[in-house]
């Protein structure tokens, strides 16, 4: 279906792809994996024509889709063959309600109204949008928006569907929903689907083949069970299989459970590490008491009470729109609650400004770039020192520790996702705040960046700082959190130690927890540490 021959692409004299040869058969679901900067998005752009027509750069080689050679065709001419769904559907919507958005592509291609109605009905049935068809796009949840975006991509009956990190912004339940839909599209309609993604645990079982892009090696198209051994960071299932001594890596938890008996026996008699959440002698550093927040007659947060002990990590989980971000902003003192009180280290953050605030609490927003105000990394660090009254160069040396490859003259917005997070963290940590809040820190981060973040957060905690992170990333929570709070529609529905929450819930439960249930192990690292200790 897709055939790339001798593709080379150069951008500003830097080669991105060299002599790429690739053949993808019809009706396959292909997963593209690789670290940040390996050219995943560029590859998707090459196939839909945005590269080089929209982005610039020089492309050589030939591309054919469904037997038609592109001969440098513009993305518009290509649009009936190749459809693209982006990471954030909000950025691509042109209409205000669901139906108008879905028919937009057909309108541009001059379909007759009767034909439009027919196809509209078809895609609405296919993606289960019956109840949403007259709704305004702004009122939909993240998963629903993504489904509308896929529906509008399908109206032109494309042969190829490209998705750039389609689930990275979604909660685990919505992400599973989207993956099931994609799986069905491949099965029922025979569409060829290409997905680029960092969090591959859930997708791997749906994939027919995996394209592994690494900077050093030539790209390879592998079977899913082979591919896991070529990744820089192996998924949790593979790591567990290795620990159990299974040579062939299973792809689903149920497959893993069938063959994991050796590991169970090795772990027999060992107990999962306890994660202390409270030292009853010391007063908690954060105390939130029955916070209720209203916006325009709607109660967004309802009677939220919890506390965090010093030196712990608390994870806020919950579906998209359950109030995680709002709660973080309220803890920063940006929203004034109708009732209730917040105390962080005996201070109310709402009345603090400037460096007083920074010494108590700092936040890394969902999009770290929001924090950047200067044109150069060096200026950004200097400004941070000035605002915090710390020694000149403090932020810069901290940044050198967190992201060593960032250069002084780079523009903060030109940095990679991981480097941007690193800069934001350096700025936040320079003032040595008592508490650090992170909003979806792993969104768009590759597995390498995630591993670095885990190390950094563990260091912060060891130094006595307290962390709260809002995240969808169950594996991250399983790895580091002491306490988990699950929010639903603005209320706390569960609050307790990680081991309790992650083993009791189906959606918010890590792969290790599911594979070794009911033993209560949370992460591969816990298992590995226990095994090592037993061996020595």
């Amino acid at each position: 279906m897709i055939r790339l021959e001798n593709i080379s692409f150069e951008y500003q004299n830097k080669p991105v792809h060299q002599n790429l040869n690739l053949q993808i058969r019809e009706g396959q679901l292909v997963l593209i994996v690789g670290p940040t900067g390996c050219g995943k998005s560029t590859l998707i752009g090459i196939i839909n024509g945005l590269v080089p027509h929209f982005t610039g750069g020089s492309l050589s080689g030939s591309i054919s889709i469904d037997g038609i050679y592109s001969h440098n065709a513009s993305p518009q001419e290509w649009s009936h063959l190749v459809a693209t769904v982006s990471q954030n559907p909000d950025d691509t919507f042109v209409a205000q309600n669901v139906e108008d958005e879905i028919v937009f592509g057909m309108e541009t291609h001059g379909f007759e109204p009767s034909q439009m109605w027919k196809r509209l009905e078809e895609v609405i049935d296919l993606l289960g949008l019956q109840n949403l068809r007259t709704r305004e796009l702004a009122t939909l949840s993240g998963g629903e928006k993504q489904r509308v975006a896929i529906a509008s991509a399908l109206t032109l009956e494309p042969k190829v569907l490209l998705l750039d990190e389609p689930t990275s912004a979604l909660d685990p339940i919505a992400a599973d929903e989207i993956l099931t839909v994609l799986h069905r599209l491949v099965q029922d309609l025979g569409i060829t689907v290409l997905i680029s993604e960092h969090r591959i645990e859930r997708i791997l079982q749906h994939a027919d083949s995996v394209l592994v892009l690494n900077q050093d090696e030539a790209p390879k198209l592998l079977s899913p069970s082979e591919s896991v051994f070529h990744l820089q960071h192996k998924p949790a299932i593979t790591q567990l299989a290795e620990l159990a001594g299974i040579s062939q890596s299973p792809l689903t938890v149920s497959e893993l459970r069938k063959s994991i008996e050796p590991l169970r026996q090795m772990l027999a008699g060992k107990t999962p590490p306890l994660r202390l959440i409270q030292n009853k002698d010391i007063a908690p550093i954060l105390l939130a008491e029955s916070i209720t927040l209203q916006k325009e007659d709607n109660e967004i947060l309802h009677d939220i009470s919890f506390d965090c002990a010093q030196g712990t990590i608390t994870a806020l989980m919950g579906r998209n729109g359950s109030g995680k971000t709002t709660l973080l902003h309220t803890l920063m003192g940006d929203n004034v609650p109708k009732s209730g009180s917040i105390e962080i280290a005996d201070e109310n953050p709402a009345v603090l400004v400037g460096q007083e605030l920074l010494k108590v609490v700092s936040i890394i927003p969902q999009n770290p770039s929001d924090l950047f105000l200067c044109d150069r990394v060096a200026d950004e660090c200097k400004l941070s020192d000035k605002l915090r009254h710390t020694a000149l160069g403090a932020t810069r040396s901290l940044l050198a520790l967190i992201s060593p490859h960032v250069e002084d003259n780079q523009h903060p917005r030109d940095l990679s996702e991981g480097q941007r997070l690193g800069l934001a963290l350096a700025i936040a940590l320079a003032a040595n705040p008592k508490m650090l809040l992170l909003d979806e820190p792993t969104r768009g981060l590759d597995s390498h960046g995630k591993a670095e973040l885990v190390v950094l957060l563990k260091k912060c905690v060891a130094a006595g700082q307290t962390v709260i992170l809002a995240t969808h990333d169950v594996e991250l929570v399983a790895e580091i959190a002491n306490q988990v709070i699950v929010l639903s529609e603005g209320s706390i529905v569960a609050n307790g130690p990680t081991s309790e929450i992650l083993t009791n819930s189906n959606a918010f439960s890590s792969i290790t927890a599911r594979a070794l249930a009911p033993a209560g192990w949370l992460s591969v690292n816990d298992v590995r540490t226990a095994l090592d200790r037993g061996g020595s």
Partner: protein, 340 residues
């Protein structure tokens, strides 16, 4: 079933608004202007079913009222009096000689008061009529009805409508973030820094939107470009003529220019539409109710050009009947729907 209404064509009430505004502008009789305002409010009250739309209508009406009162008050307090009929003497503030042009307080004459009442009433009348049209139709629905020749213009407006809320959210987010950085808000430097951030994120957003539009096939030649110039020229002529008619007497030449520009626009739109490769999903149909509204609107326009008292009496009668008809059409339609 109480919320049933006649489904008017998206353009109908805009046509009424144009006609009513034209009448208000050329009308000399203040009673008729008041009548048109009253009928607009009556129509809005009869036909708006959505509470949100009614709220926005009330807001716009309040703005109109605010403009009316401030204008009249300013005229009383600051305006230079014209005429001899003194009706009120306000205490006057003595200002130094070098600002001799300005006056605070003093006498108020009947002539200047009535002139300012007249002007302010018209101005707020124009706003109320537009408010009616705005709250009776969804903007995106009106834009979708634009002929294919204007499709790109409509597209720009629709995208702007989707874009604006995002922009406001960006502004909010970045202002928040600057507090998080530890900046003191309100300082010039922080404002200018924030402005750059806002522009950057808006630009990034537009680039992503443009890329998405491109891969969805937008931007292929959608209409015949050759017919665009005649259409725009026709529109220019039309606007010019309408403005001219508002300030001076009509002549045969005006009629000629008017019909020529209308012809140019009509032919241009038709030709451009024929050669277009683009289609529309929602095509709305015209009903009898739409035609009656438009015909009556045109009749009111014609009637208001006459200045005789008898004709003005007829105009008032037509406008009142019109208002009653709208209410009646709504209730009968609703009944039909209930029985069916």
């Amino acid at each position: 079933m109480a919320a049933q209404t006649v489904q008017y064509h998206a353009s109908t009430w805009w046509l009424w608004a144009v006609c009513a505004d034209f009448s208000i502008s050329i009308q000399t009789n203040l009673v008729l202007v008041l009548l048109i305002i009253a009928v607009s409010i009556w129509i809005a009250n009869s036909l708006i079913v959505d509470a949100k739309n009614w709220k926005s209508f009330l807001v716009m009406t309040k703005i109109a009222f605010f403009i009316f009162t401030t204008r009249v008050l300013l005229q009383i307090v600051l305006g230079v009096p014209v005429g001899d009929e003194i009706i009120l003497r306000l205490p006057q503030v003595n200002l130094p000689d070098w600002i001799s042009g300005l006056r605070i307080g003093g006498i108020v004459t009947l002539e200047s008061l009535s002139a300012s009442l007249n002007d302010s009433l018209r101005l707020s009348g124009l706003i109320v009529v537009i408010a009616t049209a705005v709250s009776l139709t969804t903007t995106s629905r009106v834009i979708q009805q634009l002929p294919v020749a204007f499709h790109e213009l409509g597209m720009v407006i629709i995208i702007a409508f989707t874009f604006l809320p995002h922009l406001f959210a960006d502004v909010q987010r970045i202002r928040q973030a600057s507090r998080w950085r530890g900046q003191e808000t309100g300082r010039i430097r922080s404002i200018s820094n924030n402005l750059v951030s806002i522009c950057e994120s808006a630009l990034e957003r537009s680039v992503r939107l443009a890329a998405a539009l491109t891969v969805r096939g937008y931007g292929n030649a959608t209409s015949n470009q050759n017919w665009r110039r005649p259409i725009y020229f026709g529109l220019f002529l039309l606007t010019f003529e309408v403005l001219r008619l508002l300030v001076s007497q009509a002549s045969y030449l005006d009629a000629l220019v008017l019909s020529f520009s209308a012809l140019l626009i009509a032919v241009g739109i038709r030709k451009a539409g024929k050669s277009a490769t683009r289609t529309k999903f929602r095509t709305e149909s015209w009903h009898t109710a739409d035609f009656s509204v438009i015909v009556i609107s045109l009749i009111i326009v014609v009637l208001s050009t006459f200045t005789q008292v008898s004709m003005q009496f007829i105009t008032g009668f037509v406008i009142t009947t019109f208002a009653l008809y709208i209410r009646y059409a709504k209730s009968t339609k609703a009944q039909v729907m209930v029985t069916a």
